[in-house]
Amino acid sequence: MIRFLVPAFIFLVLVGFLFVGLYKDPSLVPSPLIGKPVPTFVASTLKDPNKTITEKDLQGEFILVNVWATWCAACKQEHAALVYLTEQLQVPIYGLNYKDDRKSALDWLQRYGDPYVANIFDDSGRIGIDFGVYGAPETFLIDKHGIIQHKLVGIMTPDVWENQFVTKINQIISASNAMSKQMASVQ
C-alpha cells in the first residue's frame, strides 16, 4: 500500500506547486524597496529645467509617484485614470518622467491633461534605477514619513486604485490608530 501512496503523495505536491505557478505572473518582480524610505535624488523639474526637485519635495499624507514616458504605450492607456484620481479624488501624484524627451513630455501633458503636482525629469534613467524601475508605467504609494508602502507595476485603473491602494491606505491608517490608542492607554 505504502509503495503507491508515497509516489502519489509526491506527485500531488508537485501538481500543487505547478498549479499555483500557472497563476503567477513571472514579469511581476517584488520590490525590495517596500517599507524603505524613498531613494534620495536631485533632478530638474519637467516644466522648468532651472528648478530642482528632490525627495524632500514629495510631501503629503499619502502621495503617488507615477513613472511614465511618452514612448510608453501603456502610460497613455492609464493616463485618463491618473487624471481621474487627481480631479475627482484629489490624490496628489508626482510624476517621474523616465528616459524621455522634455519637449514630447510637455506636449503630452498639454494634449492629454496634466494630473501631476510636479514631474521629476529623469532623462538618463538613473533615478529610475534607484527606484528599481524596470518597466513603465509603475506607481509607488508613499506615506507621510516618506516610506514606500506599495508598488504597482502596470496600468493604474480606478479598480486597481480601489482594490490595492485604498485597501493599503486603510490598513496603514487603522494600524496607526491602534498604535496611538495603545500609546494613550499607556500614558
Binding site: 525590495p32 534605477i129 528599481g132 524596470y134
Partner: protein
Amino acid sequence: MIKNFLPLFICLFYLSVANAGFITVAPEYEDRYEKILSQLRCLVCQNQTVAESPAGLADDFRLEVKEMLERGASDEEILTFMSDRYGDFVLYKPPVKTRTYLLWVGPFVFLIGGVLLVVTLVKKRAQAEPITELSDQDKQRLKSLLDEDNK
C-alpha cells in the same frame, strides 16, 4: 552559394554590433565588467543576462556598473547595489538565505535520496534467497507449458 547566406551574415553582423552596445570600459576593468554583467538578470527580457540583453534597461545597468567600477566599487558592492533596488531576482546566482535553502539544498537532497533508494533496492534483491528448487506445482506448470510448445 555565398549569395544565399548574405542576408544571414548581415543579420549576424548587426546582431553582434547591437549586443556589443556602445559602452566600453577601460581594459583594466574589462574582465570584472564582463563577469558582473553576466551575473545580472535583465528584468525586461528575463531569461537573458545584462551582458547579452539588447534592452534599454540593460544599457542603463551597464553604464551604472561601468561607473561604479571606475569609482572603485568592489564586485560585491555592485551586486548589492543592484539587489537593493531590484531584489535577489536580479542576481542569477541567488544568495543562500532561509528563503532559498530549499533551492540550494534541494538537488542534493534528491540526489542522496535517489542513491539511498537504489542502494536499499539492490541490497534487498541481493538478500532475497535464490530459487533453487521448483515446487511440485511449478514443475507441473513448466511441464504443461513445454508440452504445449512441443506439440
